[in-house]
């Protein structure tokens, strides 16, 4: 597993369960010219594999429950030639805080200069933020789709039980929602529940 190390290349290990997020980050790092990058899910004997890799930089999602396991390994490992600790630069405390905000933690080998770490961290922050935005947008799209389905079902119930046209059924849902100060999807869901309870078919 030991690989030949080019003297000047930084070896970066990304520990992540989410294939998508890790790829987004890896891709960004490669575009920026880093090519000694390894992605590792935090499962099984990942700590032993990580020791053998002797990374210069380890990037890990803040939400990953295995962070304590990683930090313990960093604290006790005899296999690591140089100690690794969280990237903390007192002159740029904001940079570390920004990383925490973006949901990323960076562990850096002792003695690695700030100028070499900072660009990696900045890039990781940008990519993590972009990924989080993407997730949020995806989630929103999913919710919108689910909402539309609920509203469609409620419309169908109104059309069947009250003989309304589709535009009238929609208008009725909308005015009811406005009058009650609720979202249309809430009114639609309530209607579906009531209809189900009354044994209606929809």
């Amino acid at each position: 597993m030991l690989q030949v190390r080019k003297g000047w290349v930084l070896r970066i290990v990304i520990i992540d369960d989410s294939g998508a997020r890790a790829s987004v980050l890896e891709e960004g790092l490669r575009e920026a010219g880093y090519d000694d990058i390894h992605v590792m899910p935090p499962r099984g004997a990942f700590v032993a594999r990580l020791e053998r890799m002797a990374p210069d930089v380890v990037l890990m999602d803040l939400g990953n429950p295995s962070r304590d396991t990683l930090e313990e390994m960093l604290a006790v490992s005899r296999a690591l030639a140089r100690p690794i600790a969280m990237f903390v630069d007192q002159s740029e405390a904001d940079a570390t805080a920004a990383a925490i905000d973006a949901g990323i933690s960076a562990y850096v080998v002792d003695g690695l200069r700030k100028e070499r770490v900072k660009p990696i961290l900045d890039l990781a922050i940008r990519r993590f933020n972009a990924f989080a935005r993407m997730q949020a947008e995806l989630e929103e799209a999913r919710t919108q789709l689910a909402d539309r389905k609920t509203i469609d079902r409620a419309k169908a119930i109104l059309m069947a039980t009250r003989g309304l046209s589709e535009p009238d059924a929609y208008a009725l849902l909308r005015t009811t929602a406005m009058n009650q100060g609720k979202k249309m999807v809430e009114i639609a869901a309530a209607l579906i529940t009531a209809s189900d309870l009354l044994g209606g078919t929809s």
Partner: protein, 405 residues
């Protein structure tokens, strides 16, 4: 309303924080409390140190370790109150536990004998047993080391201590990655119910009043916001009383069972709250009435002697070099002065002293207090030693050189 964000881990002993929010105690003190759940102590620590949250549900030894610069970025933390005492289980896989005393009540009731059985069981095991601990700077890990060493087991040589977050312990038992673990509830009971483990020791029997989670702030933030801190401490003191009341147990268990909090069945969570621990799947529960305390006996009061006990253990296991400076900084993490200030106008009983000899109370003992009366519960260590915070070196020497002193 003052907004406050507190980070916590999904454990039964987050009860006081959950009750403060869900039962309106925080709101009544003018605090809009937001609880943020994390899955690792590292992330909870970082959120606190870097200011994403104002306070955290923290392992007491971790608060001391961060202050002493032993856990990544050094930062002076301060704990104006404890959130509970006790509440952890040590559980081992049935094949390992087969070598221990079979009667669970006897096994849990006599930890010193169990430690010796444990030493014998290690010899019978086909390899070094791997025991999951939640963090090197956890009460669980410190008391486990103490327990093992009492029978001549060197925790750094004779067993492997593997750090895993509490929520991953049960799965690690299932895959055989670990042979047992010690964690806060409900995770020990969850492993027992799944038939993957048996109870071997309860923290309540190792140190009868063992310091566990604290409410931790950054010391500078706490000192800059006295009114908010006092209001929060008052809210938590009331929430703790509510949590300790047996009449509220079922409701509390339901609140904690919510996926946003612990996300485990209420019936499982209620065992720790009620002190009725099922030692093996399908067996009758063992009664451990002091399994987890929130309010009685002035539980939240942050005795400085307890911070110093933690310091003594960090020295014992060579996690920190002993020095007057480190000792003073460790003691200063616990802030009885803030607790007293916050509750000055309440009718809660208030200890007059800030330190006591830990492990010296064998039977309930009424003590003098400037206001009200307090009965201290028995607080013995399982080996009968007492910890005098004024004589730490003597205390450490009593363990002998082979036991890590």
């Amino acid at each position: 309303m003052t907004p406050i964000r507190i980070a916590f881990l999904g454990l039964t002993d987050a009860a006081v924080l959950v009750a403060a929010r869900e039962k309106g105690f925080a709101q009544a003190e003018g605090i809009a409390l937001e609880l943020l759940r994390d899955t690792s102590w590292a992330t909870l620590r970082d959120r606190l140190v870097y200011g994403q949250v104002q306070a955290a549900h923290m392992l007491a030894p971790l608060a001391v370790a961060v202050t002493l610069g032993l856990s990544q970025q050094p930062c002076a933390l301060a704990a104006p109150c404890k959130l509970n005492v006790n509440g952890n289980l040590l559980v081992m896989a049935p094949d390992f536990a087969a070598a221990l005393e079979p009667d669970a009540t006897a096994r849990l009731g006599d930890p010193l004998a169990t430690a010796h059985d444990f030493a014998a069981a290690i010899g019978l095991h086909h390899r070094k047993p791997i025991i999951g601990v939640v963090h090197r700077f956890s009460s669980h890990a410190l008391i486990l080391r103490y327990f093992l060493a009492s029978a001549g087991i060197d925790p750094d040589r004779d067993v492997v201590l593997r750090v895993l977050p509490p929520s991953l312990m049960v799965e690690a038992m299932r895959t055989g990655e670990i042979d047992g673990f010690t964690a806060g509830e409900p995770w020990g009971s969850a492993a027992i119910d799944a038939g993957l483990a048996e109870a071997v020791a309860a923290s309540e029997r190792l140190w009868q009043r063992g310091v566990e989670k604290v409410l931790a702030f950054r010391a500078d933030w706490m000192d800059a916001h006295p009114e908010t801190v006092d209001a929060l401490v008052r809210a938590l003191a009331k929430a703790a009383l509510w949590c300790d009341d047996p009449a509220n147990r079922a409701e509390l268990a339901l609140l904690l069972a919510d996926p946003a909090h612990v996300g485990q069945p209420a019936a499982l969570i209620e065992r720790a709250l009620a002190g009725r621990i099922v030692p093996r799947a399908g067996e009758a529960p063992v009664s451990l009435p002091d399994f987890m305390l929130f309010a009685r006996e002035a539980t939240p009061f942050p005795w400085r002697s307890q911070a110093l006990w933690i310091y003594s253990q960090l020295v014992r296991w060579k996690m920190v070099k002993p020095s007057d400076d480190a000792r003073a900084r460790a003691a200063a993490v616990f802030r009885p002065d803030v607790y007293r200030r916050a509750l000055a106008d309440s009718d809660l009983p208030m200890p007059g002293a800030s330190m006591k000899v830990e492990g010296a109370v064998a039977a309930p003992l009424p003590i003098g207090a400037p206001r009200g009366s307090i009965t201290l519960g028995p607080d013995r260590f399982f080996d009968g030693r007492a910890f005098d915070p004024e004589r730490i070196e003597e205390y450490l020497a009593s363990f002998g050189p082979s036991a890590g002193a």
